[in-house]
């Protein structure tokens, strides 16, 4: 029984990191209808910036974490300004391809730094002993990661519900022309959406870097796992992203825990998110919490 609980707890831990990554994704989609395939790369750059600030500049890790969030905020905003501003109104395929191109460009930029090849790990700032309760144990870094994730999710939810800027972003995602007529600056909102996504990406990267160590390949492949999470949750629902993230984390842990090793299966945790994705899409073509679009001719 404690094995089961261990899996549940690990699943929630991993799932909340997925949720944090998916959050940024959904933010961008919600306001500008852009599928940002370069999100994994932004997460990676957030992680590397945190590392650079901590180890090379010598700032204590908590402050460098916050600082890297600010830096990635502006980084993402400038990416939107430079690359995506021209593509407002182009067909969706062009926009997806531009983000794919961006993916390669950011890859290239990271390769130019020493981070592209090589392993780095954050200096350890939390105790190494596990936190154990009821036969379940998690590490301090994971625990802190979950706390940060929920703080950020709570923060974003409040932001969208209660603050003026947040409400204007929701208005833009709903109907661009109507919000323009009220006086909301649509391009500014797009920039803000990307910037907020960069913020959450940097947080996710920092947490991830602490848990797995900084190796670009690992962070690279992490970027791909975000897609099933986002789609299952529904592309335009923040709540959906969180729920889907945790569900995916749980599914992966259960797969690794119960399916691997039996019937000659191995590595099912990698493929199960995609299979679950397909099954869910069969019944709910817009994801679990996505808004069912009623298209008007």
């Amino acid at each position: 029984m404690s094995y089961f609980f261990q899996l549940v707890v690990s699943g929630i831990v991993v799932g909340s990191i997925y949720a944090l990554s998916a959050l940024g994704f959904v933010l961008i989609y919600k306001s500008s209808r852009v599928l940002n395939l370069a999100h994994g790369q932004i997460i990676a750059s957030g992680a590397f910036i945190t590392y650079a600030l901590t180890v090379w500049v010598g700032i204590p890790i908590v402050i460098s974490f916050l600082l890297s969030m600010v830096i990635t905020f502006f980084l993402a905003m400038s990416v939107e300004r430079v690359f995506l501003r021209r593509l407002i109104g182009e067909p969706i395929i062009s926009v997806i391809m531009v983000t794919i191109g961006l993916m390669s460009i950011i890859d290239g930029i990271i390769y130019m730094t020493p981070f592209g090849a090589g392993n780095f790990s954050f200096p350890e700032f939390l105790p190494n002993t596990p936190i154990a309760f009821w036969g379940v144990s998690i590490s301090w870094t994971q625990f802190v990661g979950v706390i940060i994730t929920f703080i950020m999710i709570g923060g974003f939810t409040w932001f969208f519900k209660a603050s003026t800027v947040g409400i204007s972003m929701r208005a833009v995602s709903d109907d661009q022309f109507a919000s323009m007529s009220i006086g909301i600056s649509v391009p500014k909102v797009f920039g803000l959406a990307w910037a907020a996504a960069g913020l959450s990406a940097a947080a996710a990267g920092g947490i991830l870097g602490n848990i797995t160590g900084l190796n670009f390949d690992v962070l690279h492949s992490f970027g791909i796992i975000v897609f099933p999470v986002v789609i299952v949750g529904g592309l335009d629902s923040i709540f959906g992203a969180v729920v889907a993230g945790i569900i995916m984390g749980l599914i992966q842990q259960f797969a690794a825990g119960y399916l691997d090793g039996n019937w000659g299966l191995n590595g099912t945790a990698d493929v199960l998110p995609y299979i679950i994705l397909l099954i869910i899409l069969l019944f709910k073509p817009h994801g679990l919490f996505g808004i069912h679009e009623i298209e008007r001719v």
Partner: protein
């Protein structure tokens, strides 16, 4: 006034049939035949090393794969990030025969044209299966569904003992009427074979767009409810698009298997899917000429960047990191710049040049 069949500055069609001709003027046809002759004859005149033959063969195989992707994404409007999986299906069909019968079995080495067509059919079947979600999903959800097929394909190959768990499965050398195709002639031989396929399949694609089925694809892309109202079946058309695209990809995959003399799953990964998509877009989505320009541009770019990176790495070793960043950087930049400034791809340039010559001496 009778129309001039040799030169036509502008549009002088007097019947539907005339408008649907593949070669609008006789000059077009002559130039095309001349070009074909050139393509078949130049290897006999110029000797190129194996490496360049390999690259040229790869470009031609990519052209066939991009035919399929262009049909799917350009003409039917269904974006797919799983194309490399279809190509992989074709290659693994050949590999299945190799595993069951042995890599030098008669069926593989002598009946290879049959194997290639068979791989195409298997690709079509898989395409139809993957296309089924298209009946319910739209746009971005469909994109991610194709992505998940790509990932499932990768996992399935990697973990199945039958396919050697992703390791390279060897394919033997083939026999032609003159005997076994040995190492020295291998790339040249396959150049001709693949070129024949490119030409034949190119005509097939061009012809498809003249027929009812092709027009169905375009109609469904533009507005599937209106197409439904006109009596076409959008769901069936979408599945059909996936199947046809799967056929082309399967053929490309089988040719890939034969040319590389081995099938390993590393040739059919996600970044290859992205590469195919980039080729389709940079070439020009929705045009036949785009399928030619795209692969040539992207693969030649890759090659030149490799040379440049090696040059920089050799003579400016301090910049080692920078030189190795060239490849993803150049790939990304090319895609982004094309999309920002020339979203209709290289085929647009071709169209402009061609129109200039066609309308000369008139300006428009």
């Amino acid at each position: 006034m009778s129309e001039n069949r040799w030169l036509a500055t502008g549009n002088f069609f007097t019947s539907y049939k005339a408008e649907q001709r593949i070669f609008l003027t006789h000059v077009d046809r002559v130039v095309f035949i001349g070009f074909l002759v050139l393509m078949f004859v130049w290897p006999l005149i110029f000797e190129v090393g194996n490496k360049y033959m390999l690259v040229i063969d790869s470009i031609l195989i990519a052209i066939i794969a991009v035919y399929g992707l262009n049909l799917l994404t350009g003409f039917a409007g269904l974006i797919s990030i799983g194309h490399a999986a279809f190509v992989g299906v074709g290659a693994y069909t050949v590999a299945t025969f190799a595993q069951i019968l042995g890599s030098n079995h008669v069926l593989l080495t002598h009946a290879w044209p049959l194997m290639i067509v068979l791989a195409g059919c298997v690709g079509a079947i898989f395409g139809a299966v993957v296309g089924l979600p298209a009946l319910r999903l739209k746009h971005l959800y469909l994109v991610i569904a194709t992505l998940s097929f790509q990932m499932i394909f990768q996992w399935a190959i990697n973990f199945s003992k039958f396919f050697d768990q992703g390791q390279t499965i060897a394919i033997g050398r083939v026999f032609w009427f003159t005997g076994k195709v040995v190492r020295k002639e291998h790339y040249l031989f396959w150049y001709y074979v693949i070129l024949v396929f490119v030409v034949v399949l190119g005509f097939a694609v061009r012809n498809l767009l003249r027929t009812k089925h092709g027009r169905c694809l375009v109609a469904v892309r533009d507005n599937d409810r209106a197409a439904d109202a006109m009596g076409m079946h959008p769901g069936f058309t979408k599945v059909y698009a996936f199947a046809v695209s799967g056929f082309f990809a399967g053929v490309a995959g089988a040719l890939h298997a034969y040319m590389w003399r081995g099938v390993g799953f590393e040739s059919f990964m996600l970044h290859h899917s992205i590469s195919y998509l980039a080729m389709a877009i940079v070439g020009g989505l929705g045009t036949l000429m785009g399928s030619f320009f795209g692969p040539v541009a992207i693969l030649m770019l890759d090659l030149q960047v490799e040379n440049l990176a090696e040059f920089v790495g050799h003579y400016f070793t301090a910049l080692g990191d920078v030189s190795t960043a060239f490849r993803p950087l150049s790939f990304g930049l090319v895609i982004v710049l094309f999309l920002m400034f020339e979203p209709r791809g290289i085929a647009n340039w071709w169209r402009i040049i061609r129109t200039y010559f066609k309308l000369w001496p008139f300006r428009y």
